[in-house]
Amino acid sequence: MSDATQTYTHDVLIIGAGGAGLRAAIEAAAGGASVGVVCKSLLGKAHTVMAEGGIAAALGNVDPQDNWQVHFQDTMRGGALINNWRMAELHATESPDRVYELETWGAIFDRTPDGRILQRPFGAHTYRRLCHVGDRTGLEMIRTLQDRVVALRIAVYMEVTLTRLLKDGDRIAGATGYNRQTGDFVTFRSKAVVLASGGWGRIYKVTSNSWEGTGDGVAMGFEAGAEVLDPEMVQFHPTGMVWPPGVKGLLVTEAVRGEGGYLFNSEHKRFMLDYEPEKKELASRDKVARAIYKEVQAGRGSPHGGAFLDVIHLGSDRIKKKLPSMYDQFLSLADVDITREAMEVYPTIHYAMGGLRVEPDTGATTVRGLYAAGEVAAGLHGANRLGGNSLSDLLVFGRRAGAAAAQFVKSVSLGALDPASVADEQRLLLGSLEGAGSENPYLLQQELQAAMQEGAGIARTDAGLRTCLQTILALKRRADNVHVAGSRLYNPGWHTARDLRFMLVISEAIVRGAIERRESRGAHWRTDFPNADPNFGKLNLIALKDGDAMRITTRPVPEMPDELADLFNGEVRQKSA
């Protein structure tokens, strides 16, 4: 490794190479911009690959009654109406074209008998809407986008972690960080940055997320002055594996229920019939997760503290054809043959609805030249995301952010590089290697994960949240005292020392937001305020950097125009005349 900082220059720098980042890159390149894509892992390994069930788009191939208006309503209702209506409208209207476009780039989905894209039912979608390939839809999507990026010869910087956004005055000028493989410091100069860095599920102990989900993007955006919207909204996927311990939290796709799986408690009662008589197992994720939680709390859990998820009645052939990776996952990791035995499942952290506040049409954040798309951005999903809406989110808003960034860079020149900011970040990075600290970054990370699981988990109280906040603030101080062995050469301990700081920023935002939202809405369940409060239903929460501190403020939920509000038969406020 060398002490010199390698510098690269592009019009548009894209941070993250999952669905949103790759789709943004394709669009920005099409707009004539020089594009660089930076990813923490190898290309094609981003978390999108883990998506299983499908992409929600109202094609109406299986249920011809489906259309964008129904998809729009499902999304808004699923989000408990604090979504940004304009994002939900764009998402519902544009998803079909984004799916068809993937096919023109080589993607292949399961087919209907007449050769069109097959669609399956999913939680809280009124009609069969999810375009899918068995239970490996995310792999199909990422490989298609990856192939397209390669074909367009877009520059991809693999295994590079960017840790600070650089600004020139009030606008973005690039980002700086390190190359994982060599340990060299790197700086990217760019006229615009698109953050497509995904979520932060690693801040919880029981999670379906990979090591990458540490909230770098949202924390970097926050540090650069961008607003974080609805941070308290974190999704617990109802069905994660619970046994054996090593795979606890690993995702069991919602497609298992989409294909007709039943949930049972220890008394072999199909409890969703009581909780959600209409939608049953296919109610929205927040509702199913809470039902499983309540059954276990009531002493009706499975041997390892979950619920039973049963697909035996579907028959071996259908299971192996439509859920092949679930069959394989349970057989190889848990010694369970799901064609003969029920799975044991319990809620697992899965997704962040909150994130950087963006302009709906462009993905522009409140910092000039900084765009965000995908999980790191917020607004579309409100208080709860519907399954399948994430993959379409990546495509619709990845494309929009890429296009807007390419347009923006036509009218600006490169911002000046701020050497002091780069040097400051490098000092911070080197602190854990060269300092005299004594804390182990992995163990601090584990303490944070335990605290978040306990205090900011599926069921929240004011007291629990406040205890959790104290733990986070104490861990922030201890994070300055981390020490890691070894050199900068591919050193995961060193990487974790920096990741920990990102995790602490977003954890603090989640907990501060959750304390403020004194109601239950969507995924946010306050047992001390068990009902929805109409006043909070008019508000989005915002976390904002205020000096060295974090401040929570509110913004009114944007009001829908009358023609959209009319779709809800008076359930939502009409825009005042």
Binding site: S41, L42, L43, G44, K45, A46, H47, V49, M50, L59, Y100, E103, T104, G106, I108, F109, D110, R111, P113, G115, R116, I117, V133, G134, R136, L139, E140, D147, V150, A151, R153, M158, Q181, S210, W211, E212, P244, P245, G246, V247, L250, S325, D328, Q329, S332, L333, D335, N440, Y442, L443, Q446, A485, G486, L489, Y490, N491, P492, G493, W494, T496
Partner: protein
């Protein structure tokens, strides 16, 4: 809770690096990747390995476990019945550090393959019959773990990376060639740059594939037949024998 011993390769050169023993407490159902994570947290914070999904969907945590190329996230400790477990990096690629190798060559080769190319006037949305797409699904299951590349003796023992793209890219090409809407013929590429003739069908690649893709049977052999049909037509071969032509 009992302990097991992992002997993990450490170092940034395959020549000077050595196995380092670690005693790891075992929980039921634990996989090798869990043990590596335990070592990182408790014994060697700088131990380098790649991983992402921990669910055999991303193909990041490839390694050689007791000499066999496997995914660490899918290899259970109880399989070894308490015997020491040797964990090494993939040997077909240059070492970076510990269990991490430089797999960049795979990405360079990939970029040489003519991408999916539909007819320009193909009506959108596409109509494709289920039977036509289902035979392509097997190839599209590939998670790019590169274990097949690692075990391929053309690449591993003979380091013929300049002559052969390797099994992973035979799978990718098969997926493109059999895609119902693709219009490009990649036979010349297979014959020349991709070097499909280098494969002598030992089937080691399909033995190690964690996605159970029948790489040799369903990708390489049918592609070899296409190449043979074009470059080694038997009538032309008889002609060369009869008339003593040196041909080609």
């Amino acid at each position: 809770m009992s302990d097991t011993t992992l002997l993990v390769f450490r170092g940034d050169s395959i020549k000077t690096g050595t196995e380092q023993p670690f005693q790891v407490p075992v929980q039921e159902g634990m996989v090798v990747l869990d043990a590596i994570h335990w070592i990182q947290a408790h014994a060697a914070t700088d131990l380098a390995c790649r991983w992402n999904c921990k669910a055999a969907k991303c193909g990041s945590c490839s390694a050689e476990i007791n000499g066999r190329p496997r995914l660490m996230c899918k290899t259970r400790l109880d399989e070894f019945a308490g015997e020491p477990i040797h964990v090494w990096p993939m040997r077909a690629f240059p070492l970076i550090k510990d269990l991490v190798t430089d797999v960049a060559w795979n990405y360079l080769v990939n970029a040489e393959i003519t991408p999916f190319t539909p007819k320009t006037d193909e009506p959108v949305p596409y109509r494709m019959a289920a039977d036509d797409v289902e035979r392509v699904f097997e190839f599209r299951r590939c998670i790019e773990c590169f274990l097949c590349q690692d075990v391929c003796h053309v690449l591993r023992d003979h380091d013929q990376k300049a002559a052969y793209y390797g099994p992973r890219y035979m799978v990718r090409i098969a997926g493109l060639e059999m895609h119902p809407k693709d219009t490009v013929n990649r036979t010349a590429l297979l014959h020349r740059e991709a070097g499909i003739g280098m494969c002598n069908i030992t089937k080691c690649c399909q033995d190690v594939c964690p996605e159970h893709i029948r790489i040799t049977d369903n990708a390489i052999i049918p592609l070899k037949e296409r190449v043979a049909g074009r470059y080694y037509d038997p009538i032309a071969w008889v002609g060369r024998k009869l008339f003593g032509s040196k041909a080609d």
